[in-house]
Amino acid sequence: MDDLLIAKTQSSPEIHLSAASDRLLIKGKSYMENSATFYRPVFDWIEKYLDGLQSGHVTVDLEIVYANSSSFKVIMNLFDMLEEVARDGKNQVVINWCYDPENKMAKEYGEELQHELEVAQFNLLEVSS
């Protein structure tokens, strides 16, 4: 599969999805007007990638500075997909939630999402901006 690359904008995050390195990156702000439209190609790519996952592991790096409520729901849906893969037991799923320690809201989002996961490995990581 080709990588999916979407450059960041002021209200949408950088997306870099790579099947070759089994890494999915979403980094930046997410408050675009229509989150369903923006994330559809991201979802489609990830769904296809997870269906064909052979390597046994996938790492998801998320550094989301701010997300509006509808983006947050989309991210949750993405987590559901990853959790399903983790549940299968055939593949290891690692999710890294990176946040600036000055950004209390980002940390809280991470904790909120962490609560929803049971199987996938979730790491809350402080990063310096």
């Binding site: 702000k29 509006n68 409520s69 509808s70 947050f72 729901k73 989309v74 949750m76 609560h115």
Partner: protein, 181 residues
């Protein structure tokens, strides 16, 4: 011509208004305000967490107006709903920031909206958190263009949430919501 500035200057000072915009709401408005708020943090030493919270409530309110206002400016593009118009305010009074907005809604939407908001207003932080999680999992409601989480999100982030409906014309009421942070 007498300037209207003195009138608005006094009114704004009394009500603690920092920012007011009336008209068609766009994504651009949100991005511009993000820049302005970031400057306040970087240059005026405004508290980052508070500013983030103000911004996030602002986004939820403006995006509600974008999606749901019944007062729309038609666009050239056919089939598109046009730009949603309304009014939004950011202010600081009695030591607290507040974000308020108003837009026209159809009279028949009022009971459903009121019921939703009443429910949210009656909840404490834990109940709101649980309700948010429940709504996050369920599909979108009928007539909902976003995730249906905006009001819950605002209520969680704010200290107080108040709202009102005032008659506007035969078919519409003015819906307004205020969140104190």
């Amino acid at each position: 011509m007498n300037s209207i500035i003195p009138h608005y200057f006094d009114m704004a000072r009394e009500d603690g208004i920092i920012f007011c915009f009336r008209g068609p709401m766009t994504q651009n408005l949100l991005e511009t305000l993000e820049g302005a708020l970031r400057l306040r943090v970087e240059q005026e030493g405004e508290d980052l967490d508070t500013t983030f919270t103000v911004f996030s409530v602002f986004v939820e309110q403006v995006q509600n107006v974008i999606h749901y206002s019944e007062d729309r400016i038609p666009t050239q593009e056919t089939g598109k709903p046009g730009l949603g118009s309304g009014i939004v305010l950011i202010g600081h009074k009695n030591g607290r920031f507040f974000v308020s907005c108003g837009n026209l809604v159809k009279k028949e939407s009022v009971p459903r909206l009121e019921q939703k908001l009443n429910k949210i207003k009656g909840m404490d932080k834990n109940q709101l958190r649980d309700y948010f999680r429940e709504k996050m999992r369920s599909g979108p409601e009928d007539g909902s263009k976003g995730a249906g989480l905006g009001f819950i999100d605002m209520a969680r982030k704010g200290r107080d949430i108040d709202y009102s409906f005032t008659p506007a014309d035969e078919l519409h009421e003015l819906f307004s919501i205020q969140v104190t942070i």
